[in-house]
């Protein structure tokens, strides 16, 4: 009974879908179809073009900035440099110069 129902429904569905094809024939395009399509193509081309220009400008700016930073870091800036060439021990000794006893005084105390 169930199988019969299912096969009936299958057949009815086939008929309905075939009828749907005939009920919805291929429509004709309006006169605006081609102009509208070309307008959309040109809009897309324009946006792609501007996006490309922005991307190129951004890449150029990034490259210039990188070169500038590299040049700034490469050129020595004397004592104002934030980087020190001294070792840690040398820096410590320079910072505590007056705390360290001179060598003759130290010998006298002995």
């Amino acid at each position: 009974m169930n199988w019969t129902n299912r096969s009936d429904e299958n057949a009815e569905l086939d008929v309905l879908l075939r009828a749907y094809r005939e009920a919805c024939p291929d429509p004709d395009a309006s006169a605006n179809f081609m102009p509208g399509l070309w307008r959309r193509i040109e809009e897309r081309q324009r946006s792609v073009f501007f996006l490309g220009r922005w991307a190129r400008a951004l890449v150029t700016a990034a490259a210039v900035l990188s070169l500038g930073m590299a040049a700034y870091l490469y050129i020595p800036h004397g004592s104002t440099s934030v980087f020190s060439v001294e070792s840690y021990v040398e820096a410590l000794a320079a910072g505590h110069a007056q705390d360290a006893p001179s060598l003759p005084e130290a010998v006298d105390e002995l």
Partner: protein, 199 residues
């Protein structure tokens, strides 16, 4: 093929008249497929333009003539799928949702000015549309391509780029889901009524 591959090659090289020739050759068929896939006459041209827009910008990727038609179908399917996802279909169409053309048609039908054949076509289209709106967009498109557009499994294989067996399984499941909706519609006069009227 409705156009020579030479024309496609010219269009690939940026020849606008050649591209126009391709659009003119495939426009009617593509719009028909879209109309049956989305069931919204007022949006068919918009989706059709989207298909040819995508074609224009991806034409340079085409290498051989024999893949052109499956490829155009693929673009059509993708554009219809995107449209259907964006405009999830409502189960019931309210008067406010109808296009101007549909309102005129509905008014005319109410006044008895539209003949029996037009009314029956409309009834069938609405019944199938309502039935297909109960399944997923993917099922709807696959089933429409196979059962309504009459594409073979070989053609579907090229469009979907999946093996025939996988397609058969997907088709079977899609059909089962539609059959379920169809069976349920038997309680209402819509789809089954339309099918019986057609028989």
């Amino acid at each position: 093929m409705l156009v020579d591959f030479e024309i496609i090659k010219r269009a690939q090289a940026g020849d606008a008249p050649a591209f126009n020739e391709i659009v003119l050759a495939y426009r009617k068929r593509t719009l028909g497929t879209i109309a049956r896939l989305i069931s919204r006459p007022e949006d068919v041209e918009d989706v059709g333009q989207e298909v040819f827009l995508r074609l224009y910008f991806s034409l340079d990727q085409l290498r051989t003539a024999e893949v052109f038609e499956p490829w155009l179908y693929r673009l059509t399917v993708n554009a219809a799928y995107d449209y259907l996802r964006k405009h999830r279909r409502r189960m019931e169409s309210r008067m406010s949702d109808l296009s101007e053309q549909q309102v005129v048609l509905a008014d005319a039908m109410a006044g008895g000015r539209v003949d029996h054949e037009v009314r029956q076509r409309r009834q069938i289209a609405e019944a199938v549309d309502a039935m297909l709106s109960t399944v997923s967009e993917a099922d709807r498109i696959l089933l429409t391509l196979k059962e309504v557009e009459g594409l073979s499994l070989k053609e579907l294989e090229k469009i979907y780029r999946v093996k025939e067996n996988a397609l058969k399984v997907r088709l079977f499941r899609a059909r089962q889901r539609v059959l379920k909706a169809f069976g349920e519609s038997g309680k209402e006069p819509s789809a089954k009524g339309a099918a019986k009227a057609e028989i």
